[in-house]
Symmetry: C2
Subunit: 305 residues, 2 copies
């Protein structure tokens, strides 16, 4: 079995210096599952309202994403409105309408409970825990979170982190969660909570991975045109988990490769609004950019000169 993701399917209204788009397809589970679908089978648990268009369902189906777990209820779909300045690293949230997402109680279909790979996208840590409790024995559990939960549900979040294998958060969140300005100290403090692997996302600066004995640093792919960073983190996580699930190789070496695949997917995603770039993407382009990462980071080791 492939990956199960629990998160949001949403509409985004996004303004960047390069344009403005209203009510386009978004949501953590949407970006994650689309990205992961390039590598493996994905099942999605989320909720949408009755305003959610059939074309989006069709798109997700076209990516072979199993939508048994997507419930459609009366009301409006979660809607996020945000804005980016020229510093595309940080979004300014203008409006958040949770709508049907407010009463979202993820119920894992029996068929999904045996999934080997589970991604808990950024939702209330108490719900993340409920999902965990409905699962049988996943091989790899990864989770994301955000500043809001770190400040409002810190204890619940800590309990989730105790039970996950991989925590994927951004730099600011790692500092906030631990109260440590220094990232190496912050990482140690998070690993001490129980996660075996910590992946810290740094936007255009790439990713740092920490385990109890190693550090891996991956750059972001320098792009000449970044249109819309929305969903980059979930697209990263999708490529990362997708590759892990595809190979089943959860050694450190496998995780490092998965991080590069995640970075590749995120680098494509920011090239256009919404999922537009992922919709046009093919696997050859993914491999080619992976090779680009390899070239971009290569340097010779020390010989015994």
């Amino acid at each position: 079995m492939g990956i199960l993701v629990v998160g949001s399917v949403a509409f985004d209204s996004v303004e960047t210096p390069f344009g403005k788009m209203d009510s386009i397809l978004g949501g953590s589970a949407t970006y994650f599952s689309t990205s992961a679908s390039f590598f493996t089978d994905v099942s999605l648990v989320a909720v949408v309202g009755d305003d959610f268009q059939e074309e989006h369902i069709d798109f997700l189906r076209s990516r072979n994403i199993d939508l048994t777990g997507l419930s459609r209820v009366n009301g409006k779909t979660f809607h996020w409105k945000g804005k980016y300045g020229y510093d595309l690293n940080e979004a300014q949230t203008l409006e958040t309408h949770l709508n049907v997402f407010e009463s979202f109680k993820p119920v894992i279909p029996a068929l999904y409970a045996g999934a080997d790979y589970l991604f808990l996208a950024n939702i209330d840590p108490e719900l993340q825990m409920e999902v965990l409790n409905q699962m049988q024995k996943p091989r790899v559990v990864a989770c994301d979170t955000m500043n809001f939960w770190i400040s409002s549900k810190r204890e619940a979040l800590k309990k989730v982190v105790e039970r996950v294998d991989i925590l994927i958060i951004n730099e600011g969140e790692a500092r906030q969660f631990t109260g440590e300005a220094n990232l190496v100290k912050a990482a140690k403090s998070i690993l001490a909570m129980g996660a075996k692997t910590l992946i810290i996302k740094r936007g255009e600066y790439g990713v740092l991975m920490f385990t109890d004995s190693t550090i891996f640093a991956a750059p972001a792919y320098p792009l000449e045109e970044v249109f819309d960073p929305t969903g980059a983190g979930d697209t990263f996580a999708g490529g990362f988990m997708g590759y892990l699930a595809n190979t089943g190789d959860t050694s450190e070496e496998g995780i490092r490769q998965a991080i590069i695949f995640g970075s590749v997917m995120a680098s494509f995603n920011v090239e256009d609004f919404s999922l537009n770039r992922l919709k046009k993407l093919d696997y050859k382009e993914i491999e080619s950019r992976y090779r680009g990462f390899k070239k971009m980071t290569h340097f010779e080791g020390l010989s015994s000169r």
Copy 2:
């Protein structure tokens, strides 16, 4: 012949969240030459006042740095006062007393004019040009600059950049110099001015190198204790040029290795105030951290699986 560096030898008064030091040894040429001295012979052209202590001269001599070009004149040595917050990436300048540095006119001793490697540290671009005009035919010229010269002497700076092989500046300066928010575009615009290689320093995020056809991304070494970032950029440049001069390998592969050596040196330098860490450093530690960089960035390429 080794490297010639023209820049400042100064006193710094530095405050960081971890302590406060008054009138400690600093200056771009000091950091650069000390760092480069681990790899090759260095000659220094700079000016100090009559308050410059013999112990500092002794230290530089102990590193085999040729001080024929260090003039000692009546007056006070250049003194910079700065402060760092927990975000150690950016210094806040509190005071700048140019003192004897104000009337610094670099005169290159005849013996130095044939140097193969020249580093023009951050000084007035008009003086950088005067230095260039006194040189015979250096194999590799690299230069640094700062926001102050970019805004006040842009045209003079452009003329210098036309004539150098390698420009080493920080991210903010690259954006300021070109008016481009996007770093890839900024890099293209700088390479179009004439520099063959552009190295963009990003503090704790590492370094990006651009040529007309390639990009190299190197991380910074994640450190648990960063005491004082002063001089990190010049220490980077010193390790970089020092290694280049040592091997004579100016191929892209050689430049990439030199960037890692520069990053290694900078990572040591920030572990203590002033040049204190470099004073205790030995070459075995340098090689060991280079290997650490190699491990930290390694991932497998794509096999034909």
